[in-house]
């Protein structure tokens, strides 16, 4: 069979016979990618203005929207605590907001069990914008028109980045479930 078609006994997760996905990878990839999203903006640049949207939160939304059931409902709290260590927000803000976001998505999901990509994008954008404004309000800094003006690109980027994040999550999910372990 392999002589006719080398991919005959494999699917998108790799060859099927005698192989299975690695349990470590299966469990760690979602969390690791969200945590990396939290740390990355800190390391990329040192600038005067807030530029990037919270990549950690976008990754959380991506995993929750693209692969429902991978993250438990309470995952927002520990991941948010990790994000708070690096984001510069007062400690606790991401714990609160990420938990609320997870509950909100759960409610959206019970109301609209069947959703397409556009619906997901709409819901994610709404959540990302709410998160952006809430994070500004509770950042501890006095609210000025300049603050909002300078943070507006963040909001636009958060909305526009979601499709890319969703593709990235889908790719990470294929990586997560690829059959890396050989069963003897």
């Amino acid at each position: 069979m392999e002589q006719l078609d080398p991919r005959a006994r494999s699917d998108i997760y790799g060859r099927r016979i005698n192989r299975t996905s690695s349990p470590l990878r299966r469990r760690s990839v979602p969390y690791a990618s969200i945590m990396l999203g939290s740390v990355l903006p800190v390391l990329l640049m040192a600038d005067l203005m807030p530029l990037l949207p919270s990549l950690g939160f976008l990754m959380l939304l991506g995993w929750r929207m693209v692969r429902p059931g991978v993250l438990p409902l309470w995952a927002g709290a520990p991941l948010g605590a990790f994000d708070d260590l690096f984001s510069g927000q007062p400690f606790g803000s991401a714990i609160l907001l990420w938990s609320l976001a997870m509950i909100a998505i759960e409610l959206i999901e019970t109301r609209f069990p069947w959703r397409d990509f556009w619906h997901d994008w709409f819901a994610a954008s709404l959540l990302a914008l709410t998160y952006w404004s809430a994070a500004l309000v509770i950042s501890g800094a006095p609210l000025t028109p300049e603050m909002f003006a300078v943070a507006a690109p963040q909001a636009a980027l958060a909305v526009l980045l979601y499709p890319m994040i969703a593709r990235l999550v889908a790719w990470l999910d294929r990586f997560r479930l690829s059959r890396a372990r050989t069963i003897d």
Partner: protein, 316 residues
């Protein structure tokens, strides 16, 4: 994508309980977050050790990032340079002519300064930086402007110490971890810095606006003496910064002062020096609440002195 069927509880008691527990835990997480948020808004330093450990862990990775960042910026600047070579060359020649003249003037002033200082018997204390560090990164997603540097408690860095680059003031150490520290940048909206105009003694406060610019608010209101292009330097009031370090250049005039651009932009800064607190005794006096309700007669003698307790409190 539809939710997997395991998330629909149906009549299964076990599924119903696990769904309920999920909601309960998520709600508890949110409540915990709210409590922690209140606590950290009330006591901003409460979680400093936790953040110190976290930034210690990522600081080495940040240093590697800073190296590539500096390299790529140099490359882009190099490419851009080719396009403007001709006109830039002519302009640089002109600037060089003027600079030569200014150097001559400055040499004369320096000589005179030395002479006058000799007459007064003043010795200029050389300020040795506590540590030299790399600017590792900043909070790029939050509305707050904090940066991380790659030196911490073990290098002698303590909260409150000023952080300067070769161009001017960058900010002030907010929290110190073991091998890294968190710096409050000047543009953070919580940052207040007493400044004066370099040319004379027009005294003002430089407040961060959170959008990369500083608002300069004059202490003595009246006719606004500021002009676009004026250089503001630290006045030394408040005791944290030594006087005379460049801070910002006025870019726009407002009724009560101006809007200024930073001299030392963190984005183009690679290495910074952490300096000791200029007047430790004064800072201790100002931060100690028991000493606060005893303003001496000197407190009302100058606007900088009356303003400094506010500045010390505002910078927290």
């Amino acid at each position: 994508m539809a939710p997997p069927s395991s998330r629909r509880s149906g009549f299964s008691k076990k599924a119903q309980y696990s769904l309920f527990t999920g909601y309960l835990l998520a709600g508890a997480g949110a409540a915990l977050g709210l409590v922690l948020l209140m606590l950290s808004l009330w006591q901003p330093a409460a979680f400093a050790p936790l953040r110190g450990v976290a930034s210690d862990v990522v600081a080495p990775a940040g240093e590697a990032g800073a190296v590539t960042r500096a390299g790529s910026q140099g490359m882009i600047a190099g490419i851009a340079g080719y396009f403007q070579a001709g006109s830039q060359n002519a302009e640089l020649r002109r600037e060089l002519e003027i600079a030569r003249i200014r150097v001559g003037e400055a040499n004369a002033l320096k000589a005179e300064n030395a002479r006058l200082k000799g007459l007064l018997g003043l010795t200029e204390g050389e300020i040795r930086p506590v540590a030299m560090a790399r600017l590792v990164g900043s909070t790029a997603t939050s509305g707050r402007r904090h940066a991380y540097i790659s030196a911490g408690w073990n290098d002698g860095v303590r909260p409150g110490m000023p952080v300067v680059s070769e161009r001017g003031v960058v900010g002030r150490v907010l929290e110190a971890g073991r091998g890294s520290a968190r710096v409050l940048l000047l543009t953070d909206s919580e940052s207040v810095l007493p400044v004066r105009r370099a040319a004379d003694n027009v005294i003002a406060f430089a407040e961060g606006r959170g959008d990369g610019l500083l608002r300069i608010r004059l202490v003595n209101l009246g006719v606004n003496p500021l002009k676009v292009g004026d250089m503001m330097v630290t006045s030394g009031a408040g005791g944290y910064y030594r006087p005379g370090v460049a801070v910002a250049v006025i870019a726009k005039i407002t009724p009560d002062g101006g809007i200024a651009q930073l001299v030392a932009e963190p984005a183009s800064t690679n290495f910074v020096a952490v300096e000791p607190v200029a007047q430790p005794a004064a800072v201790a006096e100002l931060t100690d609440p028991s000493a606060a309700p005893a303003p001496g007669p000197s407190a009302s003698s100058s606007p900088a002195a009356t303003a400094s307790p506010r500045a010390g409190a505002g910078e927290e």
